[in-house]
Every structure is written in C-alpha cells, then in structure tokens.
C-alpha cells in the first residue's frame, strides 16, 4: 500500500512542478517550498551521520589515538553558526572560514598546476610529421586551436597586428567548441525529460515498462 501511495504522491508532485511551464503559480510554489524544506533537513541528517558521528564521535568512543584532538575542528565548525550573532561574538567565525579558505587555496594551487596546466601543456606539444596524414592534420588543429584561443585571452595585445588576426581564428575555434557543448547540453536536458516521462507513463500509469 505504501508503495502505491509513494508513486501517486511522486506523480502528483511531478505535475505540480510541470505546472511552472504555464507561469509561476501557487501549485509550483507549494512544490518548490516542500523541496527546499525537505532538502534543508536532509543536509542536517547528512552532516550528523557522516561527519559528527562517523568522523568525530566514533573515533573518540573507540578511544583511538589522537581522537580527542578532533574536538578542535568540531568546535571551529560549530563556530560557523556564530555568523548570525551580534558582531561582538560573530567575528570569531572568521577563524573557521580562514582555515577552510587557506586549505582550499593551497589545494587549488597544487591541483591546477600539476593536474591541468602541465599535463595539458604536454598534450599540446604534438609532432606534425607522424607519417599518417590524418594524425598530422588533427595534431595541427589541436595546436592551432589551443594557441589561437590563448591569444584571444591574451589581454595585453595591441589593436592592429598579427596577434589580433590570430585571435580572430581563436574566436572561431571557441565558437565551435561552445556549439559542441551547446548541442551536448541540449541532449542532456532532453534525457532528463525522457526520464520523467517514463516515470509518469511507466511507474504511475503502468502503460510502459517502469523505470
């Protein structure tokens, strides 16, 4: 019985959201607020179960070495809520933000250099005489595409001159890349609708094989 109720509620809520197509209306606002409310509590359950319980309380209860030290990050984490208290107290929450921002900055600097800049640079240094004309042309297109795009995003170049013409080539490559990404994104959006329609037709009305 619960199972049928669940499918009917889910189907009903799907129609509530679809009503947005015919203008923002109370039915859509109802569904939207239900979603925001449910997911807000979802995050609380999540942070409790996977962070506070499994990363802090369990190691302390099991008296693992150094587990008591975990109280410090827990304290700094809880400080985050002081942001809404009066300025006299809430400035201390900046310590926790500073900790997270500092580590984030360190991680990004290393990751972008080792994981993107250097490997992508290496992958663009391609030989143009590999004995197979197809690979040669493809390599050439990758090299020109990358260098032309970098020239387009080179902000110190003067108006006239070779660099500006080469950046025209860059913008052409950029537009083709955006077009490809555009086509793929539309495909993705359609797939989401297909998924919902199969749920309505299959799981709710049982006309088609369910999801």
């Amino acid at each position: 019985m619960l199972e049928i109720l669940s499918v009917w509620i889910a189907g009903g809520l799907t129609l509530c959201i679809l009503s947005f197509l015919y203008g923002d209306n109370p039915v859509y606002k109802f569904a939207e607020h239900l979603y925001v409310g449910f997911s807000a509590a979802y995050w609380l359950i999540y942070v409790w179960h996977f962070t506070i319980k499994q990363m802090v309380i369990n190691p302390i209860v099991a008296r693992e070495p150094g587990a008591l030290m975990l109280i410090i990050p827990l304290f700094f984490g809880a400080l985050m809520f002081s942001r809404w208290l009066p300025e006299r107290i809430s400035w201390i929450s900046r310590w926790s933000i500073a900790f997270v921002v500092g580590i984030g900055a360190g991680i990004v600097a290393i990751g972008q250099v080792q994981g993107l800049l250097l490997p992508q640079l290496r992958a663009t240094i391609l030989p143009l005489a590999t004995g197979n004309w197809k690979t040669n042309t493809n390599n050439l297109l990758v090299v020109i595409g990358t260098t032309a795009t970098l020239t387009y995003f080179y902000f110190s170049r003067r108006e006239a001159g070779v660099l500006s013409k080469f950046s025209r080539v860059g913008i052409a490559f950029i537009m083709i890349a955006l077009g490809a990404s555009f086509g793929y994104t539309i495909m993705a959006r359609i797939s989401l609708l297909i998924g919902r329609m199969i749920f309505l037709l299959g799981n709710w009305f049982h006309i088609v094989k369910p999801l």
């Binding site: 197509l21 962070t51 991680i107 990751g111 994981g115 992958a123 797939s191 199969i198 094989k209 999801l211």
Partner: protein, 287 residues
C-alpha cells in the same frame, strides 16, 4: 509587424511559447508509448572505457564514485548499472563512495540491485563507504591511507572486519577509478588523483560536462569517457544488456530533430523580417 497584413513568416516566427512546450512534450511521449527501439553506433571514447574494465581480472578492485544526484539520474544511473553489471560479471571487486550527498540513496539502491542480480556478497565482493565531506581533501589523503577518512563503511562497521578490505590501503591497491560525474568532481579526480598518484581513471559524465572533459581524454589523463544518455546506451549495447539508456534513444532522436527544426525556422524568420526591414528603410530613403 511590418506592413499591415501578417504574412506567412510573421505567423511562423511568433508561435506562442506554450505551443512549443506541448510540441516537445508530444515528441518525447509518443516514441516512449510506441516503445520504438533504436540501435546506437559505438563511439571510440565509450569503447576505450569498456576496454579499461575489460582489461581487469578478478584480483583487481575498482572504485566507483557517485558524484551526481536525482537531477542527473536519467543519464548516470543507467551508466552505474551497466558498469556494475560488467564488473560483477568479471568478478571484479567494487568499492563505492559518494561525494554528492543527495546521490547516496540512489547509488546504494543501484549497487544493491545489481549485486543481488549477480549474487554478490556484501563485504566480500563489494562495499559501500558512503560519504565524507571535504571532496579534494578526501581524494588526496586516500593516496596515503583510505582508513584516515573511512575508518568504517556506510553501515558504521570498521573496514578491517570485511575480508575484501584487509589488504586495501590506498590507490596502489585500486586498479581503476570510475567517476560518475554531474559536476566538477570529474576534474578533481583527474587533477588530485590521476596526476598526483598516476592512477588509471575512466569517467561517465552528463551531457553538460562532456565537452569540458574531452581535453583530458586527448591528453591521456583519463582512459575512457562515457557521455550522456547516448554513452549509457552505447555501454549497454557493448555489454549486451539493454536498459534505460536504449529505451530513451528514440525519444532523444525525435526531440533533437524537433529542436533543430525550431532553430532553423526561428532563424529563417529572423532573416526574412530583417531583410524586409532593410528593404523598407531603403525605399523610405529613396522617396
């Protein structure tokens, strides 16, 4: 519009929005109702992802990361099930972990379903580590020791109690990482694990993220790339196990044709009205 009578092009280019919505709705529903089946061509990136798993043997362990949520279910859930079927068929051991909190339940459900289908035993053939906050921090430290962050699995039981986890400590013990990505975490796996620990990776991504991920395929930082619903359909064809991917293909086809027609009509109308405006302006000047 220009001139008094609304000619053909003005009517064509000003169809109301709600009619367009209904057309797209019909174009998607009809193929589903008729249950049209379509074959798909296998593209090289999906083939190499398939071969990456095919190259493994029962002693190997793969790590599947659920980095998506219900919003991308139609594209990535079929990929999850297809890859799990492929891995379990080859008796490859599977570790699942999650970085998008909202994706854990559907990841757990998919893993449970396919594992039961192949009669796999939790703790011996597959394990679910659940979620930990800190994304890149978790990825980096798993190169040292997985137990630093995951001392217990999703059921809160210590890893060492599971036979399969006894000699698994870091990326040296993981043959391949399979990232199912709806956002930027694919890039994190590549940068913070692939390059830093020289780890083999394949990615399954939504259509939205596909274009941005191809440069990493060309540079060899990932071995395979499964893109969008079509990628899922291709993988299902490769493992001869049709699923949701293939059923959606017909509707995908019709919808794409409809949108291409919309773009073409919209632009023809745009050019016709602009030419008429220019003609009126020239005539205006002449008189």
């Amino acid at each position: 519009m220009i001139g008094n009578k609304k000619d053909f092009w003005d009517r064509i280019t000003s169809i109301k929005r709600e009619i367009i919505f209904t057309i797209i709705g019909i174009v998607v529903i009809v193929p589903i109702l008729l249950g049209i089946k379509e074959e798909v061509q296998i593209s090289p990136p999906v083939k190499s992802a398939y071969e990456a798993i095919e190259s493994l043997d029962p002693t190997d362990v793969i790590l599947i990361s659920i980095d998506y949520d219900p919003a991308s279910m139609p594209e990535l859930q079929p990929m999850l099930k297809a890859i799990l079927s492929h891995a379990f068929r080859k008796d490859i051991k599977v570790i699942m972990m999650v970085f998008w909190p909202l994706g854990l339940p559907i990841g757990t459900e998919g893993l449970g379903e396919v594992a039961n289908e192949y009669g796999k035993v939790y703790g011996e053939d597959y394990i679910n580590l659940g979620y930990r906050p800190g994304d890149r921090a978790v990825m980096i430290d798993m190169g040292r020791e997985i137990r630093h962050f995951f001392r217990s699995d999703v059921n809160d039981i210590l890893l060492d109690t599971y036979p399969m986890m006894r000699d698994i400590h870091n990326y040296n013990d993981i043959a391949l990482i399979v990232g199912l990505e709806a956002g930027r975490f694919g890039e994190f796996w590549i940068q913070y694990v692939g390059s830093r620990y020289n780890q083999r990776i394949i990615l399954g991504v939504t259509g939205v993220m596909a274009a941005e991920t191809y440069p990493y395929l060309q540079s060899g930082q990932i071995e395979g790339l499964i893109g969008g619903l079509k990628g899922a359909a291709e993988y299902e064809t490769l493992i001869e196990k049709p699923g949701f991917g293939l059923t959606g293909m017909a509707a995908q086809s019709w919808a794409h044709i409809a949108i291409v027609i919309f773009i073409i009509i919209g632009n023809i109308g745009y050019f016709m009205t602009r030419r008429k405006e220019r003609r009126v302006r020239i005539k205006g000047r002449k008189e």
